[in-house]
Symmetry: C2
Subunit: 526 residues, 2 copies
């Protein structure tokens, strides 16, 4: 069994605090900078690489980070996780999302079944169902094919699957895999469901209700919304709706659905894109093979994450450098900046993944801790961000570490040459330029035009955003967040912080309030 210790009890943490800091503008300049770009890179799954040349680390700090990885027993803890230990201590649950896409260690038995087989079987059931929808075997009451799929879910049942769908939509169109359009309804705001219902052809739409517990207020409310809309058009909701839920939920055996697919309590919402939560919508939209390729990419990245040497393990190295920036250099945030329009909602997914996992103030035993944990995560695609908040990133008073993502090729492979270069080359040139601009800065006699530099960044570079590389990217960040949770000794798999608001909202709706809450309820005329 691994030793779970607070970060500030580790000798290697004190060593790191005392290590000489790196002068980033200096080390990234000249030939030394070129050498760093060549050397400070580690291969990732799906033919990608993680380049950390522009991070404020050097061989000494990297060595000490490796020492910390060893002292914190990061690899052992990961092994315990994928071998089925109770890693989610707060909720006393296993953490098995990696099993939805492969098996890294022992068979994991729970609920009386082999969980890997269980997840594989659900994937197969979804694949069969999707094939029958695509062939028209499953159709609407008139026997017409479904053309649109609408996911009803919130949080992890929305952000991840939506980001993945948007990431692959262009690729699928280009490669003849665009089988059904997908839409998403998440917010309890009635305008969300209404706007989606206005845009779609309800008669040819299949709805996926996603709720692990089967009790998520927003999702059940939106289900009623949709059922009403179907009935108003003379349609039978039960012919237009499937469920993704747990076997123990009230939805599991309901007649309200054409079919139900299952996940379980060992798949956290924010880690559920590779389960049926992402599987149903992606298999329907793009076909089961695309979803299978996506899982293969994620599984390959998981295998890379089992590498014990952090210098060969991009997720672990990314985690270590991020921890160093947060706890030693004291930076409060990280910006995620994909140079790919298809990844427009990937930062919103990572925002949940990271902030909900590691935004904690107690350790995994429920004891208060004395160091900072998860940073703020935000971001938008480049080059758009360059014309927006990059001003602050370059010249603001705070330093914000950056995480770039870029691909050599576009998805559609449809391009124009303007001023001797394609748009794709311009896109890549921009991200390369930004890395160096942030790291090295530029002197100027006019302080308003001066760039101090010293703003660290890393970049993940891939050939093209495909199902496999997207899966690897998703898994990379899941594993990064997991390793950081290990470093901070927090439970990255519960979310007690969402409970209080729910309780108070129920009290407002039950008119059971006093004090400030009663006054706010009055203002809103509740």
């Amino acid at each position: 069994m691994a030793n779970w210790k607070n970060l500030d009890t580790l000798a290697s943490f004190k060593e790191l605090s005392n290590a000489k800091k790196v002068d980033l503008p200096q080390v990234m300049s000249g030939d030394g900078g070129a050498q760093r770009v060549k050397n400070y890179t580690v291969p990732m799954a799906a033919n990608m690489s993680y380049n950390y040349a522009a991070k404020a680390v050097d061989d000494d700090i990297l060595k000490k980070l490796c020492d910390l990885a060893a002292e914190a027993e990061l690899s052992d803890k990961f092994a315990e996780l994928y071998n089925g230990e109770v890693i989610n201590t707060g909720e006393k649950r296993l953490v098995l999302h990696q099993l939805t896409r492969g098996q890294l260690g022992n068979d994991v038995m729970a609920d009386g079944v082999n969980k890997r087989e269980f997840y594989k079987n659900e994937q197969k059931r979804i694949a069969d169902f999707a094939d029958r929808v695509h062939s028209g075997q499953i159709a609407n009451a008139k026997g017409e094919k479904f053309t649109t799929v609408v996911q009803i879910g919130i949080g992890g049942s929305d952000l991840g699957p939506r980001a993945m769908y948007l990431a692959l939509e262009g690729w699928a169109r280009k490669n003849g895999k665009f089988l059904m359009e997908a839409k998403f309804i998440s917010n309890v705001d009635p305008d969300d469901a209404t706007a989606v219902l206005e845009q779609i052809d309800v008669e040819h739409s299949l709805f996926i209700l996603v709720s692990k517990s089967g009790t998520t207020l927003e999702t059940l409310t939106n289900q009623s919304f949709v059922m009403d809309a179907l009935r108003k058009k003379g349609l039978d909701p039960a012919r237009h709706m499937i469920a993704v839920t747990s076997e123990t939920s009230p939805l599991a055996k309901s007649d309200d659905y054409l079919e139900a697919f299952f996940m379980d309590d060992f798949i956290g919402g924010r880690y559920s894109s590779t389960s049926g939560v992402g599987g149903a919508v992606l298999s329907l939209a793009f076909g089961p093979q695309v979803f299978a390729d996506f899982l293969d990419g994620a599984a390959a990245a998981d295998r890379t994450a089992t590498e014990k040497d952090p210098m060969k393990n991009p997720a672990m190295l990314d985690a270590l450098i991020g921890f160093y920036e947060r706890n030693i250099l004291g930076y409060p945030a990280t910006a995620v900046l994909p140079y790919s329009q298809a990844l427009s909602r990937f930062p919103a997914h990572l925002q949940q993944l990271d902030m909900e996992s590691n935004g904690k103030s107690v350790n995994r035993f429920g004891e208060p801790i004395d160091y900072v944990t998860g940073p703020i995560i935000f971001g938008e695609p480049g080059t758009n961000g360059q014309h927006s908040f990059y001003q602050l990133l370059h010249q603001g008073t705070d330093i914000i570490p950056l995480q770039f993502v870029g691909f050599k090729n576009s998805q559609f492979d449809n391009d124009v040459i303007i001023e001797d270069s394609t748009s794709q080359k311009k896109l890549c040139a921009n991200v390369a330029a930004q890395i160096v601009a942030f790291a090295c800065g530029k002197d100027d006699e006019n302080p308003n035009k001066k760039f101090n530099g010293g703003r660290p960044s890393s970049i993940i570079i891939g050939q093209e955003l495909t199902p496999a590389s997207l899966g690897a990217l998703l898994s990379h960040f899941e594993n990064k967040v997991m390793f950081q949770g290990f470093i901070w000794n927090v439970n990255s798999f519960d979310q007690e912080g969402v409970q209080l608001g729910k309780v108070l909202a129920k009290r407002v709706l039950a008119h059971d309030t006093d004090g400030a809450l009663a006054e706010y309820a009055k203002i809103f005329e509740i």
Copy 2:
């Protein structure tokens, strides 16, 4: 003339630093909390209000903030701005976006014309053009009506107009004002333009090229992209394209456009939604009267911002409290959390508005400053965020001030009753609950379920998100950011931080690189 002084030279700043801090959980509890909710509110334009009961201020701190507003001469500086002084010192320009929607002070003459008349005239020209498109007088080569409008622009030519369009789309559909669908192309990523072109009926689409200078690389590249697509379909691009630019730009008199509409150097990109940059797309999508109502809402909020007493001036008060949180309490970020799905991209607009305006390390005279300026701005709509990053907001190790927005009524007025309440009531109950949960927290013997509270928030409350209230909301934040710029003594209207990346990207494309930049260019095969 106002005195432009650095924040740390103000006596009132030192007074504030020494003021007793507020214990938020304590003051927001019980009857005192109820009183705060009733008292700590100030009316806004368009029948909205700004409630700051859950901010960590009390009468003593508010008094000192008012002293600072007076010492920093915030009202006088605003008056100088709208009366046409050179407030954008770096670029030696006037700052006139308020004139696009009203006139607060003297006539402003520049470029030999009365600028208010100039902006009004452009608005009228756009209105006439939109009317002729809607009537079919301006049509495609076959004489068929245009059904879709596509804005090609980046940064302020994209984020603000896109956020405004999404904010009003549902309202317009409900109220019979949805005349044309709008799409947006921004990123130089070729997949962005390709994806939009795949989705639209190009033959019935009208494109708006938006670039003040007429030289924005991304925008001109995307224009070529679109022109190619039009020609491939046998269409004449000049019959499908209009320009919004400055009179001195190369686009102004080009035969490539059906028509050109003008703004000028006194309208910063991020402040341009009320100029032709937002005006063309919004007038085409929803009709000129909707755009006029939006401007009226913005103008009303501008008038409120001229109020000298901060306690009656919501934009100034919001600015002062935000400054207090940033410079006295030391919080690095602010989350913007609209409880309205229609405002899904409003946080991205505010992110640009705020971070590009005040992410500066020199004062308006170009001298380095010794205090922090603009915070990180990020956000997503509620209730979605509650199932995502709110975990960190509630229980993370850092405190992040929050800015809620909520409306009593939905836009579509289409709702369902589940468990005795409508979705809209659930939405409102949730935001009310969150304010109190963040402020007061909740004790628990299990530290994992404990909420420390003390997490400050404000809320802007409106009746419904309409053109007028949206305009007022936009203007509120523009003026807030402006007042904060005055407090920090920075120039909120230039953006030198975007230049270095542009220069280096050009060097990459010209193969004029060495060191680290050359290596990155190699990796991307440029």
